[in-house]
Structure formats: C-alpha cells, structure tokens
C-alpha cells in the first residue's frame, strides 16, 4: 500500500531580526574593517566616549569614597556622629557603600551600552 509522499520538511525561519531587516551600511562597515581614515575616526570616537564615561565615574568614586578618610582626618567630630544607631563611619563603610557601588555600576552599564548603540547606529546609517 503506497501512501502519498509526505511533505518535505522545511525550515521555517523569521527574517525579522535586526540584522536582516536592516543590513549594516556597507561602506562604514568596510571602513571599519579596512581601518581607513573613516573607520579609524569611528573607533577613536567610541573609545574616547567610553573612556570619558569611565573616568567620570572613577572621579565620582574617588571623591565620594576616597574623600571619606580625608573627611575623618580633617573633621574628627564626624568619626563620632551617630546615624541610625551606628557611628557614621560604620554606617558609610559597612552598609551604604555597597548599594552605592551597585547604583554606580548600573549607571555605567546604561551609559556604556548607549554609547555602543550610538556607534552601531552610526555605522549602519552610513
């Protein structure tokens, strides 16, 4: 008994990914790949933006956290201030610093990825 030939299996794929819908601009991509003047400029500006961001956040860290010992040294009364039942140094160094670092990290993540999206947009538009 011969059954009708079953339909061939085919792969059903969606073309609706960003990469397919909007292929990157050829010229900028080639510029990047071949490292000509334009490509070099593109990469340099991305690196500069990321470095500026990192240095800014590092400065905030240095002032807020690095300033604490200096504060304790120059204004000794701050060492004995009680906040929420804990001495200020213990509250700052034992508790508050950890959520603060997490928030700083989150800010960096957001901004660094924005720079990268801008870079990708720039490459794909051109």
């Amino acid at each position: 008994m011969s059954r009708p030939e079953p339909p061939r299996r085919v792969a059903v794929t969606s073309p609706r990914t960003a990469a397919v819908r909007r292929p990157p601009g050829r010229s900028a991509l080639r510029a990047l790949d071949e490292q000509d003047v334009v490509g070099e400029l593109l990469v340099r500006s991305l690196v500069r933006a990321q470095l500026t961001l990192a240095l800014r956040l590092l400065t905030v860290l240095a002032v807020l956290l690095g300033g604490l010992p200096l504060l304790f040294a120059t204004v000794p009364s701050t060492r004995d201030v009680q906040v929420l039942g804990l001495p200020l140094p213990w509250l700052a160094l034992g508790v508050l610093v950890y959520p603060a670092l997490l928030v700083g990290g989150l800010v960096h993540l957001r901004l660094a990825e924005r720079h990268e999206r801008d870079f990708v947009d720039l490459v794909e538009r051109s």
Binding site: F72, W90, L109, F119
Partner: protein, 605 residues
C-alpha cells in the same frame, strides 16, 4: 567530648558535595574548551554566582572579621576595596577584555602587543600571584580545623589541597563553575544565619556597648589555651589560675611555660598578644585612630584602597571567569551581578568582628583573631544552637577554601600548561602538549603540590594581610598593563615589559620584606613596605608610559584593528575575539583562544 564531631561532619559534607558536583560536571566536560572555559555557555547569573563564590576566600570569610576585631573601623576598608575593585573592573576592563578573546592576562598581552616574550613575563607573574594567594587559603584551612576540632594545622591544609587538586585535574573549569556557584550561596547562608542568632543574643544580653572607654575585658571567667610560643603583654596586674594554682601576672611581657590553660577571672582586662596594641572600645570604633598599633593610619588606608581597587582586575582567577561570558555585554552584566552578590555578603563579617570583642576577647591574647567567626557561636550562644551554628560556619569556611583554591589552581595550572611547560614537539604543533588536557592535569598536580609544600611550614600568617599583598602585586603589574593596553594606543612591548618588571619587582620585594619581618614594625619604612601599592602602582604606570613614549616607533602597526576588536560592540559582522577561525588569520598575533579552539576542533570526535 562531642565538640569535634559536628565540625567534622560539616567538613565531610562540603567535601562530598564539592566532589559530587565536580563528577557531575565532569560527565559534561568532553573537549579541551569544555575543560578550560566551560564552552562559554554560562549565563550571567550563574557566572556572577561563580565569580563571587570563587572570589570569597578564607580572607573574606574568616580574615575580614578577624581584622575588624583587631583593628576596628579602618579594617572595614578591606571588604569595601574587595567590592569596589569590581566597580573599577567594570568601568575599565570587563567588556573590552571579553571582546579581546583573551583567556588570561598572558593571552591579552599577546593579543594586544603580539609579543611572545611579554607573554612569558605575564605568565610568570600569574604563577607568582596565584601561589601568593593559594598558600594562605591552605593555611586558613589548617587554622579552621584546629580552631574547631583541635586537629594539627597540617591536616586541614592537606585535606583542601588534595580535594582541590584531584577535583580540578579531574573536572576542570566546567565542574568548577557549578561548584563555585553553589559555594557562593553556601557561604552567604553560612555567614548570615549565625549572624542573626548572634545579634539576637547580643540584644538579649542588653546590647552591651562596644565603644567603651576601656580596652576589652573578660565578660566571664575564661579559660585560655596559650601555647608556649605566644608572648602577650599584661597592662594591669591580674591573678590567674594555672594548673589549679593561683599565679599573679605582673605588668610587662609574659609567656606561659608549657602551654597550660590559664584561667582569667571575670572582669579582668584582656592582655594582648605582643604584636597587637590594646585599643579602647572608643578608639577601636573610630577610623584613623591607629587602633591595634597601625602606624600612619591615613597612609595605610589610602594604600590599601589603591591596592584593592586596582588589584582585583589583576587577579588571575577573576579574569578567567570573564572569558566564560558569551560577549562583552554579558561580561558587564555579570560584573554588575557580582557587585550585588558581594555587597550582600560583606555586610556580615563586621558583625562577627564587633561581637568578637565582647564574647571571645581571648583571641586578642592568643593572636588568633582569624578564628573569631568560628569561635563566636559557641561562646555567645547557650544550648545546642552554638555547636550547630559553628558546624554551619565550618562548612562555609571550607566552601571558601575549596572554591578559591580551585579557581586559583585552574588558572595557575592553565597558564603553566599553556606558556611555561616544555612545548613537546614544538610550537608548530599547538595543542599537542601545551594546552592539552594532559598538560593541564600535570600542571594542576604540580601547582597543588608546590603550594602545599610552601603552606605546610609557613608560620602563623594573618590571612587577609597576605591576600592584601597579593592584591598589591596584581595592582602593580596587571592593572597598568590592562588599563593602558585597553585605552591607550601608544603602549609598546618595551614599555609594558619595563613597567611589569619594575612594578612587579618593587612590590615583590616589599612583600618579601614584610613577610620575613626584616624591617621591624615602626615608622615610615615599615608602613611603606606593609602597604606598598601607594607607591608601586604609580611607579609602574609611569615606567610603562615613559618606556612606551621612548620606544614610540615600535607601536604595533595593527593597533587600530586591535582597538576596534576591544571596543566595538558585537553584532556588526566584524571579526570578534571569539569569531570563527576564518577571521583569525586576519590579525597577526593568533590568540591562544583561537589556537585552542582549532586544536579542539581537530581532536574532537
């Protein structure tokens, strides 16, 4: 005596679980790339747990509380620096390092500067830092077993060394990832649950004050086991009982002959071990008071901040983990997860350090403040809760020893196998001996054995300070290499090599001088050598920049392409660090990662 039974059961359970998860992971590890980098299939949460589990060592689990107990508020900078180091790593290193496709710092040096010589130099530094970090882990295991069961110090060290070496040589990093992630959560639980009970007990005792105007006193009649080598300083004459006989300890330095137990009456001031100056509760609670006899506390604080903030990125076992992220973006997310997980953990050690001054002040006499975490529950809690919680803490401590040691061993052995073992039939046949599974296993056995040989005779080392020195060496070598390599096009091989040699040489000399105690403990020279990072890190940066500027002509010609590789986001269709081999031959220095991938492809079934 039921004392040692519970801790031993706890240790046995952790060891069995570690080996069990290792065996489970081994079944999944088939090829070299599985073995070494877990095939980069690890998700950010797993990876963040694994990084945290690997990072929280004996120094964090036991040592930080001990330092807080002895030195007070200034010691809080240790855990702050251990976490902030990841923040700096996130800002400057995480995503670009992942995109470079480098697996270790030597890989990075070769990707960025294309020099085999520099690669070897970095490999040497990795092995040095790895051993400097591994030895205190093994030593801590010995201390922990001694504090809870009375076993000789060597037993714990041998136990951890054997378990870790066999596990790593057998399962590699794939199993390590599971083990590490499991151990983070075990460590957090083990430290958090007893802390709650201890705080309740403190509350129940009427919240005795910590910032008292006097140095610590014995709350109750206390029996102290002092071994004959311990010298302590009596400030107030006190009548104690030794071998059932009354004996008056006069002012001045004292040792107890024969190591007999000494019984101190309630309310007596606690004599301190000779190396630790007694501090009033008030001084102890204040930063920069020099509590414990720290010279130049402001300098020491800033030097410590610099070492920990910048040293984290140079720790070999930390960097390797970033390779297990699928791309640069995941590397950033993983780092953020690590910031959250570590922050939660480091809220706890200070609680133990503070309560230790009330409930186990005799540790200030014996100088074994590293044991405060393990001793507190039995001393502060009545009934069965004390021993049970102590067993939980022992389990956590062993999780710490096992996880950090495995991470260090995987990395150090990986670098040894890759860069420093004889290359067998030569470099032309990569993947044959170097970088092969067998080479890795041999290197793991060798590294484990050497670190055990160093750890066994080592004298009483303060855990966190030795680890702090490892941070200083890492900050003086790999931090400038990574930061300048990632962000500055002008770096040259000569400049980087000179900076590594000067930074590594100076910091290693300082470490050697401090560990051998050859410079006394007073004045500026001692302060500068005990915390060298404040001057060795800027020196290393300066030498690296000056050396590179002097050899400006030798900047690699393909530096623009390398910068693009490091910084351009994935998904543009550009050659990436983990790209297909077709792209690999475009950049002149072939990375180990790629070489390894090809080697694996050849040997895979």
């Amino acid at each position: 005596m039921t004392g040692p039974v519970l801790p031993l059961v706890a240790v046995a359970l952790v060891v069995v679980a570690t080996i069990g998860i290792g065996v489970y992971g081994l079944r999944l590890a088939r090829t070299t790339s599985d073995f070494l980098v877990a095939s980069r299939t690890v998700s950010p949460l797993w990876n963040a747990s694994a990084i945290s589990g690997e990072y929280l060592s004996a120094a964090s689990f036991l040592g930080v509380a001990g330092l807080v107990m002895a030195y007070g508020a200034d010691a809080l900078w240790y855990p702050v620096g251990f976490v902030a180091g990841y923040f700096v790593l996130l800002l400057f290193v995480a995503a670009p390092l992942r995109r470079s496709g480098a697996y270790t710092v030597p890989d990075f040096a070769e990707v960025r500067l294309g020099s085999r010589g520099l690669r070897r130099l970095c490999a040497l530094a990795v092995v040095a830092i790895g051993l400097l970090y591994l030895v205190p882990q093994l030593h801590g295991a010995g201390l922990a077993l001694r504090a809870t069961t009375g076993a000789p110090v060597q037993v714990g060290a041998v136990l951890v060394a054997v378990v870790v070496t066999v596990n790593v040589a057998g399962g590699g990093m794939r199993s390590a990832t599971f083990v590490q992630a499991f151990q983070y959560w075990l460590k957090l639980t083990a430290l958090a649950v007893p802390a709650v009970f201890l705080l309740l007990a403190w509350q129940g005792d009427g919240r005795p004050a910590l910032d008292t105007p006097t140095p610590p006193t014995f709350l109750q009649r206390t029996t102290v086991e002092v071994d004959s080598s311990t010298r302590f300083v009596v400030d107030e004459p006190v009548t104690v009982t030794v071998d059932g006989r009354q004996r008056r300890l006069e002012e001045g330095s004292t040792a107890v002959p024969g190591g007999s137990p000494v019984v101190f009456p309630a309310g007596a001031a606690v004599p301190h071990v000779a190396s630790l100056a007694p501090a009033t509760g008030l001084d102890w609670s204040r930063p920069l008071s020099g509590a414990g006899g720290v010279e130049h506390p402001l300098y020491a604080t800033y030097a410590l901040v610099l070492a920990t903030f910048l040293g984290t990125m140079g720790l070999p076992h930390v960097l390797v983990r970033f390779y297990t992220n699928p791309d640069g973006r995941a590397a950033r997310r993983t780092t953020l997860g690590v910031l959250a997980l570590l922050g939660a953990f480091y809220l706890l050690p200070a609680v133990y350090g503070a309560l230790g001054r009330l409930y186990v002040p005799e540790l200030l006499l014996t100088g074994r403040t590293d044991a405060v975490v393990l001793s507190l529950p039995v001393a502060a809690l009545s009934g069965p809760a004390g021993p049970l919680l102590q067993a939980l803490l022992v389990a956590g401590a062993f999780a710490a020893f096992l996880s950090t040691s495995s991470g260090l061993l995987v990395t150090t052995a990986g670098v040894l196998a890759q860069d420093l073992l004889p290359a067998g039939r030569g470099d032309r046949a990569p993947g044959r001996v170097r970088g092969s599974v067998r080479g890795f296993q041999l290197a793991a056995l060798g590294t484990g054995g050497v670190s055990l040989l160093v750890a066994l005779p080592a004298a009483a080392l303060p855990l966190t300070q030795v680890v702090g020195l490892a941070f200083a060496v890492a900050a003086s070598t790999f931090c400038p290499l990574l930061v300048l390599g990632i962000w500055w096009r002008g770096l040259t091989v000569a400049g980087a090599g000179a900076g590594l040699l000067v930074g590594g040489g100076l910091s290693t000399l300082a470490v050697a001088a401090t560990l051998t105690g050859s410079v006394g403990s007073d004045g500026w020279p001692a302060a500068l050598l005990a915390q060298p990072a404040a001057w060795t890190v800027p020196t290393a940066f300066a030498v690296m920049v000056a050396g590179s500027l002097a050899t400006r002509g030798t900047v690699p010609p393909d530096v623009g392409r390398t910068m693009m590789l490091l910084h351009a986001p994935e998904g543009l269709g550009l050659p990436a660090g983990s790209g297909p081999p077709g792209h690999a031959d475009r950049s002149s220095p072939e990375t180990t990662a790629r070489r390894r991938q090809r080697a694996v492809r050849r040997t895979a079934p």
